[in-house]
């Protein structure tokens, strides 16, 4: 069923099926995007018109100037720059160390490997609320709080990337590695020349998900970044929440702006999810 449609459609029946598929997909997409639509609509309203009962989907008069005003109300440019820097650095390190470590867990057999891996995975289960303060004290001792280093170091070495990459490496046949070993390639060579090029879709998904999670992270930057010129976009958005009320119009305007780069990243990354690229010509 996954490959049936990868062939060009032929005949009137196939055309009809294609039309039906598009209709279903379009309806599904529209339904899924409803809250996003609300977000866009709210970004074009006055603040005291955002949360009304009943919901007003189309603003009375469109407040396009919200998208200009937000740049004056908060240093959005700085925040965006910081967020891009952090997201890129963390994603790069996570993908690099994660895919490297995953090779050790998937393709090298040594004593204690699986136990260590289980311990790695288990730590994902500990909620951040539990170890937040000990972690902060550690960072404070290292005098890294209120710098990007604290966040980069904390988030670049997670177990998530290791776990994800290991699972994909498992789908690569061991015979490929064996053959490379016979050809005299070192383990590092196998990782770099055989395994890594074969796992492009996995690398793309790891990079994509890490990037998005870092981009949208709030608690980490909130706890570790105090100086305003280090703030990320999520902190900037929450700065519209006051003690007793919030400027939801500005929050939604900012949210729409902050989603745009993610949309671009997603459309770039998802191109790697096309069947046949990864393995074609490799097996034979």
């Amino acid at each position: 069923m996954t490959t049936a449609a990868s062939r060009p459609a032929r005949g009137p029946l196939a055309l009809l099926r294609r039309a039906a598929l598009y209709t279903v997909l379009a309806a599904l997409a529209a339904a899924i995007l409803v809250p996003f639509g609300w977000m866009v609509s709210a970004s074009l309203k006055r603040n005291n018109e955002v949360l009304t009962i009943p919901v007003r989907w189309i603003p009375k008069d469109l407040q396009w100037h919200n998208f200009a005003d937000i740049w004056a109300k908060i240093p959005l440019g700085t925040y965006l720059g910081n967020t891009v820097l952090l997201s890129l650095a963390i994603t790069f390190l996570q993908v690099l160390t994660g895919s490297f470590a995953a090779y050790g867990f998937a393709k090298v057999r040594f004593r204690g490997r699986d136990t260590l891996f289980l311990a790695y995975v288990a730590t994902i289960a500990v909620p951040w609320q539990a170890y937040m303060i000990p972690q902060y004290i550690l960072m404070q001792k290292a005098e890294l709080t209120d710098t990007f280093w604290s966040l980069i170091l904390l988030q670049a070495f997670g177990a998530f990337g290791v776990f994800l990459m290991r699972q994909y490496y498992l789908t690569i046949p061991d015979e490929l590695c064996e053959a490379a070993r016979v050809d005299g390639l070192s383990e590092y060579g196998i990782w770099a020349r055989i395994v890594l090029p074969l796992s492009k879709p996995a690398l793309a998904s790891l990079a994509l998900l890490t990037f998005v999670n870092t981009w949208n992270d709030y608690m980490g930057p909130f706890i570790y970044l105090t100086s305003n010129d280090l703030w990320t976009i999520q902190l900037g958005l929450r700065s519209f929440v006051g003690q007793f009320d919030a400027d939801y119009a500005m929050i939604m305007t900012g949210s729409v702006l902050s989603v745009l780069p993610i949309a671009v990243i997603f459309l770039l990354g998802q191109r790697y999810f096309i069947q046949g690229i990864a393995t074609s010509g490799m097996k034979g």
Partner: protein, 298 residues
């Protein structure tokens, strides 16, 4: 977790060193910055600590207190219920989306992006819109149920019985795109030739799915199920924004309880004890999944 008997121990040492050299760059950072604070938190579950003054050893007091704490028990039950709904539904929805969108067709990028967008839509927008859809009096969900002839449609997020199903549905909608990405990447690893071979053998679409797609996706499915289990037991943000544990304690979950006991009430020892229990619970579930997975691989 069997090890192939190595011919010579020197070779064993060599591969061990090679294995560790791969793992070390990640492990060093991870152990120092995450593992140490985690272990500190676990030790703290046997102590009284207010986050500032030196902690005091109290043995099992925090764990005993946990047994009588009604709110923690309610939170534990709610978390389990949430996971029970969230894990299978999200996994199925994500797999279905991935299969549907794993094809060469014009505009597939747009549809994939649409499926992923709930994950990046502002949480406040998600909470407001879903609460509006679920509104008991004017929400479209109940209007639809009325049309179907349901006399007394549920009160969803304003009802103690229906708040959790409402939250689960919202979270499935939000997370399915995220796990779809993992499944999509997994589908790329299945060699085309396997499908061709199955077709030659006369297998229909369902048989090809059973015989080729599912086995090929096994490592990814394992990944998705473990991640989903872990994320379900740690759920926090969505609940805080959507119901904040309410009405009453109907959607109170463990992470919220840890946060309240620690940050809000300043009892970090007790908060750590709850997180230790949460961790052990998830560990057991993970071990079961590992065991099933290993058995299946054999």
């Amino acid at each position: 977790m069997a090890h192939p008997p190595t011919a010579r121990s020197r070779r064993g040492l060599r591969t061990t060193l090679i294995g560790w050299s791969f793992i070390l760059p990640n492990f060093l950072g991870f152990a120092l910055l995450t593992l140490v604070p985690m272990l500190a938190a676990f030790v703290l579950s046997f102590m009284d600590w207010d986050s500032y003054n030196p902690p005091e050893w109290v043995g099992l007091k925090n764990l005993e207190r946990l047994l009588d704490d009604e709110s923690t028990k309610v939170a534990l039950r709610n978390t389990a219920l949430y996971a029970l709904g969230h894990v299978p539904l999200t996994a199925l929805a994500a797999l279905a989306l991935a299969l549907l969108l794993n094809r060469r067709m014009a505009g597939v990028g747009f549809f994939r992006a649409a499926a992923f967008f709930p994950y990046v839509t502002s949480m406040v927008a998600v909470a407001v819109v879903w609460n509006m859809l679920f509104n008991p009096s004017f929400g479209p969900v109940n209007q639809f149920l009325h049309l179907l002839g349901v006399e007394n449609p549920p009160g969803w997020t304003t009802s103690t019985d229906w708040a959790m199903p409402a939250v689960v549905l919202t979270s499935v909608w939000r997370d399915m795109g995220y796990y779809m990405v993992l499944f999509l990447a997994g589908l790329q690893a299945i060699p085309q030739e396997h499908y061709e071979a199955a077709r030659v053998d006369g297998a229909g679409p369902w048989q090809r799915f059973r015989a080729v797609t599912l086995p090929g996706l096994r490592p990814v499915t394992f990944l998705v199920l473990i991640l989903l289990t872990v994320q379900s037991f740690k759920v926090f943000d969505l609940i805080v924004v959507m119901t904040d544990g309410g009405p009453g304690r109907a959607t109170l979950v463990l992470s919220q309880q840890i946060y309240r006991q620690g940050i809000i009430e300043g009892e970090f020892g007790y908060a750590s004890a709850i997180s230790l229990v949460l961790f052990l619970l998830v560990l057991v579930l993970t071990l079961i999944q590992f065991w099933f997975n290993n058995r299946g691989e054999r």
